[in-house]
Point group: C2
Chain length 224, copies 2
Amino acid sequence: MTGEKNNKTTIIPIPTIRRLPLYHSFLLTVRDKENIHISAPGIAKELHIHPTQIIKDFSYINVKGRTKVGYEIKGLIKILEDFLGYHILRKAFIVGIGNLGIALIKYHEFNNEGMEIIAGFDIDSDKLETNINNLELFHINNFKERINKTPIDIGIIAVPACQAQEIADLMIKNGVKAIWNFSATPLSAPDNIIIENTSIDSSLAMIKWKLHENKPLIYKNRVL
Amino acid sequence: MTGEKNNKTTIIPIPTIRRLPLYHSFLLTVRDKENIHISAPGIAKELHIHPTQIIKDFSYINVKGRTKVGYEIKGLIKILEDFLGYHILRKAFIVGIGNLGIALIKYHEFNNEGMEIIAGFDIDSDKLETNINNLELFHINNFKERINKTPIDIGIIAVPACQAQEIADLMIKNGVKAIWNFSATPLSAPDNIIIENTSIDSSLAMIKWKLHENKPLIYKNRVL
DNA sequence: TTTTAATAAAGAAATATTTCCTTATTAAAA
DNA sequence: TTTTAATAAGGAAATATTTCTTTATTAAAA
Ligand SMILES: NC(=O)c1ccc[n+]([C@@H]2O[C@H](COP(=O)([O-])OP(=O)(O)OC[C@H]3O[C@@H](n4cnc5c(N)ncnc54)[C@H](O)[C@@H]3O)[C@@H](O)[C@H]2O)c1
Ligand SMILES: NC(=O)c1ccc[n+]([C@@H]2O[C@H](COP(=O)([O-])OP(=O)(O)OC[C@H]3O[C@@H](n4cnc5c(N)ncnc54)[C@H](O)[C@@H]3O)[C@@H](O)[C@H]2O)c1
């Protein structure tokens, strides 16, 4: 949340945090191209984010650019990765080895972004037979036992909406610090538990509403 | 974007739109339970959204509650579905029949939320052999031909980041109105094209940053 | 019937976030 | 070398969003 600037503590806006991985991803695509530097307007053109927004975002994480030149690409990538903790590998369990669960397990990029899924759980024994990246799969009844053996930080929920709260409670009871919820139902949790709702259905709602209204956004350039 | 209130046009905040499907999903879980009504504080307790926020959100779509009683659940569900256009089925193509693409194709709930995926495309011919829900699969080279035969509103991008812009350009050139982008790279598009970036990686970044900072949110109750 | 307490509504205030404006810097062009 | 134009930076302003406060309503309790 905080970044030091001189001595003052500045508060980093949540939307800024959400944009940082976008910058990171974009910068990877321009690294090793002809230029060593990229300017805010240069990024803005591709990402449809206002250039001063980009400069502000970078200033929150104490990144300074050079006038007339911009930002050094590789250095910026490094700073973003450090800030976002890509080099600190957090252990995770995933519950729900369904369609989405399998996609998440197979997505290797998470390892580069600092999350390692080390076990999967399902209530359906048939699902435990499948081999996905050699991931260890267990029945949900074994959750407590496994987490006691290997404590984890992140619990990923990919079960149907009606089961999500139950699994969340199980995770919280067993010391999970952060819950990543892919079900459409928001979860109840104590304030000390980090909850991230990735609601794919909310995204669809946004698209459908924009199609229906067919009006420009209030903040034209807002990407997230 | 707009809701009529008396004669004045009110602007609906984007975060409100994103919360509406969460209310909808939650209300489904309490429908057919003992109570006919639910109050804003009642919803707030489960969803960790401030009760006055909920009342405000509902007021934007002209939903009125009854003092001491709250909101009639079934009627509210209906209004939300109408507002979000769940009953208007929009046609969609999906490009990228990989791990995530398959999960999205298999997710039947989209049909209830007003989106029907009617064809899939990939560059890898092997992928076109797989049978997923009997969906018609084509080589990406046939995109233009297929869209001319059956115009669609929504193009879903589930290809690797480096290919995403190319596919977006193809979609735009062929009249797609809205692009739903699951790749980590934000896309460039003319202003009249609706772009929705569902950045799963941004969500992870948020979790990792909160784990690292271990500080409360500024807006405590913010769920999206 | 009267009182109490829970609630919605509406507007005000507080807070958060983006965009604008002005200045300073500096690479590249003249 | 001097000028020009592109850019970053920092603060101000504008805008957006959430939260608070007050008031009115009404179901339930007394
Ligand atoms: N697939 C998608 O593209 C998609 C899109 C939007 C939202 N979602 C959400 O993601 C979640 C998962 O979706 P899906 O398509 O993978 O569903 P799915 O039905 O394919 O998989 C759900 C899995 O959870 C398991 N499960 C159910 N109850 C369980 C329990 N108590 N403990 C452990 N495992 C349990 C099931 O056996 C199944 O394997 C759902 O909440 C869905 O709404 C998915
Ligand atoms: N799987 C996940 O859980 C996950 C998580 C976060 C982000 N993503 C993003 O979603 C996207 C898809 O991820 P995935 O895991 O399904 O990857 P994947 O590699 O499994 O699938 C990608 C598919 O796209 C196809 N493809 C490549 N170039 C193409 C082209 N030009 N035209 C048509 N098809 C083409 C490939 O043949 C492949 O089938 C990626 O951008 C990824 O970053 C996925």
